[in-house]
Amino acid sequence: MRLRFERFGAWAGLDSPPAVVALDRDGVRALGLDGGARWREDAPPTPPIEVHLAVTARCAAGCEGCYLDARPDGHEPPLGVLLARMDALRRAGVMTLAVGGAEPLTRDDLGALADGARSRGLTPVLTTSGLGLTAEKARALRAFAQVNVSYDGGAEQYAEVRGFDEAGGAEAAVDALARAGVRVGVNVVLTRATWHALPATLRRARSLGASEAQLLRYKPAGRAASADYLARRLAPDQARSLGETLRALVAEHAPGGFSIRIDCSMVPFLSADARLYASPETLARAGVFGCEGGQALASVKVDGRIAPCSFVAPTALEVADLARGHERDPDLARWRAFRSQAPEPCASCAIVDVCKGGCKAVSAFLDGEHGPDPECPRVLTDRANRPHLQVAPG
């Protein structure tokens, strides 16, 4: 296992079962270790444990809602540059490396990238549209711990999210990866129009060999940062029903070994679930992460600059300086500070320690500020009760 000291104890990255575990100081001492300076009360914040690495800015798919506004002629760093960035991530103590793009399949050296990550103690995973993935290329991805294919559902749902129908291509990719022995998951972007099809989407993905689905909120970034976002985002009643929806999906799929994962931006929706809201310790113990920008998560843009997450602009910090520069970067510090300075209704929210205010990409787009997620059910209720703070709920 890889172990990184934290003020609370340590993060431990296990190989089997694959998991990242938060251990308290007594647990670390049981392993015969001591955190030393990292356990001082004045210890500075630590770098992220999960980093998203953009290995290309190229993509020819042209999805309407591409959060990167990726294009076919984007920049693609050479392998040596990316391996040097991985060296920097290793020095920072990063555990999980999520490789993406734009579209990483534009590269022909993904196997070497995965091997390079493994040799540096990083667990490499990959996200792809899967379009054009051949059986040969699928086999070349075996060094990745998991590959997720963007799959928003059948033809109608896929076209709703991306503007064209390539559901068949994504399904073929899931099948090819599963046949190649690669652990494969699907990324399902949810919009108002595709929400109802979620159960069928997951059944189809599972039947093709996927072992996990990650549900993602449609976000107003890149080409999706337009007025069209208001029509595509989840409706308030859909957001409020997330807890019950997950309960049903997990009951159907977990016994068969198919996992359900939610992205950080969906965590505020769980505040509307009475049972979860009443037991925030359950969320914390299950390792649920809300907005971890500036903390457990960072993104390395294709030019090597660090961003709090993939949906927002980069900071001035270069990945080469991540290990020592993370604690001092003013933008990352501002993201970290949200929890301790959270305004209402976040300040009094039972799950704020997990949620951390929801998606800042959404608040920046809708409210023009780094504030509470304006689509959180609690925030909507709070604003409805304070009519001088107007927000368009639907």
């Binding site: 609370f8 004045d42 630590t46 103590g93 931006s265």
Partner: protein
């Protein structure tokens, strides 16, 4: 690798378990199975984690991110 002598990890020392590999390159994901499944499944995962903590070789990482003079204090909410 650490070769320090170990004692069993008390399950109460495990504050959070994030199972699986997050494979999304855009946002950080969390498996929610253990939020909703029967305690039996959750307990099995937890037992496997505690067992692994007792036997997997330990490599301490992040050795170059040391506290520096004048650095900011970690926020109180960093612990899961």
């Amino acid at each position: 690798m650490s070769d320090a002598p170990r004692s069993p990890v008390d399950p109460r020392s495990v504050r959070a378990v994030r199972p699986g590999h997050g494979a999304s390159c855009s946002s950080i994901g969390s498996v929610v199975d253990t939020l909703f499944v029967t305690s039996l499944l959750g307990s099995a995962l937890f037992a496997a984690v505690v067992a692994a903590l007792g036997k997997e070789p330990v490599e301490v990482v992040g050795d170059e991110q040391r506290p520096a003079e004048g650095a900011g204090k970690a926020p109180d909410d960093e612990a899961p």
